[in-house]
């Protein structure tokens, strides 16, 4: 009973902390910030986290939901760092199309990659 009480308290606390965000949230983040945190904390999990972020973004697209700001772009950068230049470009273009505010940065990312042979793309 005591452990159940603890679980309920923890759940309640989580609700209290995150309640506002989920209640009137604009976006489904799919654990984006946690994935970035894992990337920095445990670099050996980067490849797995890339797959998780891609899975989330694909699910959003299939459900015709707006992909949260920055997700396409950071997914693109993770692809670029994994040596997948074409998938990086594809995601930078999607970020640019979804968010006009990103145009300046995305144009320079895209231009930079277009001018670079694929072999040099990995940073």
């Amino acid at each position: 009973m005591k452990s159940m009480f603890k679980t309920v308290m923890a759940a309640a606390a989580l609700l209290a902390v995150t309640g506002c965000a989920t209640q009137k949230g604009l976006y489904d983040w799919g654990g984006y910030s946690g994935l970035l945190y894992q990337n920095y904390k445990k670099p050996e999990t980067v490849a797995a986290n890339l797959v998780k972020l891609q899975t989330h973004v694909s699910a959003m697209e299939q459900g015709k939901a707006k992909v949260a700001p920055g997700l396409y772009a950071d997914l693109g950068t993770l692809y670029l760092q994994a040596g997948e230049r074409d998938r990086a470009l594809e995601n930078y273009r999607k970020e640019r199309a979804a968010w006009p505010e990103s145009a300046g940065l995305m144009d320079s990312m895209i231009k930079n990659l277009d001018n670079k042979p694929a072999a040099e793309a990995k940073s």
Binding site: A12, L15, A16, G19, L26, S33, Y40, D74
Partner: protein, 209 residues
């Protein structure tokens, strides 16, 4: 048990009451930023990982306020390519240069004053302390705030039901070997952006209150 569930519902219903704003937001309103560039923090704590960890917590609360937030991992990578690895070097640049590099309307600077855990025999006190500053692309400061939050097991009875629940959530994340500062940092961001006199106005994609 039922009482606790009832409390949860009550919290969910009442937890989001609009704060009473006393800060002068005329510069913010005049700048009307649509997009915010979050740059890596200046670190005055002894934890070298703190700036990276903090960086991951800032996008969601600002984007949920209705701003376009530049992809933090991409931005960090671009800054490194430009030769800026540390928060100090980045914060030392004119804001106009950074804003122009990314096409951002505003830049958010955070300084980590504290990010530490103090251990005594049976207790742990964890503290985060951040200075926040937002500057428009023309260099005008449009918002600033400070937030310190402290967690220690003895303080769990805060005398306030919401405070107690939050303390329990943070407590769950605090292990002696590897304290996770993130819930405390996330809470600091939530409070500073959304509650009390420092709460920033909604961005273009946000709900206009």
């Amino acid at each position: 048990m039922k009482a606790i569930f009832a409390l949860c519902i009550a919290l969910l219903v009442t937890g989001c009451a609009s704060p009473v704003s006393k800060t002068d937001f005329s510069a913010f309103q005049a700048a009307k930023p649509r997009s915010i560039l979050v740059v890596p923090a200046v670190n005055k704590s002894l934890d070298v990982d703190a700036p990276n960890y903090l960086l991951t917590t800032l996008t969601e609360p600002l984007a949920e306020k209705g701003f376009y937030v530049f992809p933090v991992h991409t931005a960090r990578t671009v800054l490194e390519q430009e030769g800026y690895y540390e928060g100090d070097a980045i914060h030392g640049q004119p804001p106009q240069v950074l804003a122009n590099l990314f096409g951002a309307d505003a830049v958010l600077y955070v300084t980590i004053n504290r990010w530490d855990a103090k251990y005594v025999v049976l207790s742990t006190t964890v503290t985060v302390d951040f200075d926040y500053r937002m500057v428009a692309k023309d260099g005008t400061e449009i918002w600033k705030a400070n937030k310190q939050l402290q967690y220690s097991p003895q303080n769990q009875n805060t005398g306030h039901p919401l405070g107690n629940l939050i303390a329990a959530a943070v407590s769950a994340a605090m292990t002696r070997a590897d304290p996770n500062y993130l819930p405390l940092a996330i809470m600091a961001n939530q409070q500073v952006f959304n509650m009390g006199p420092t709460a920033i106005p909604a961005g273009p994609y946000g709900v206009v209150n």
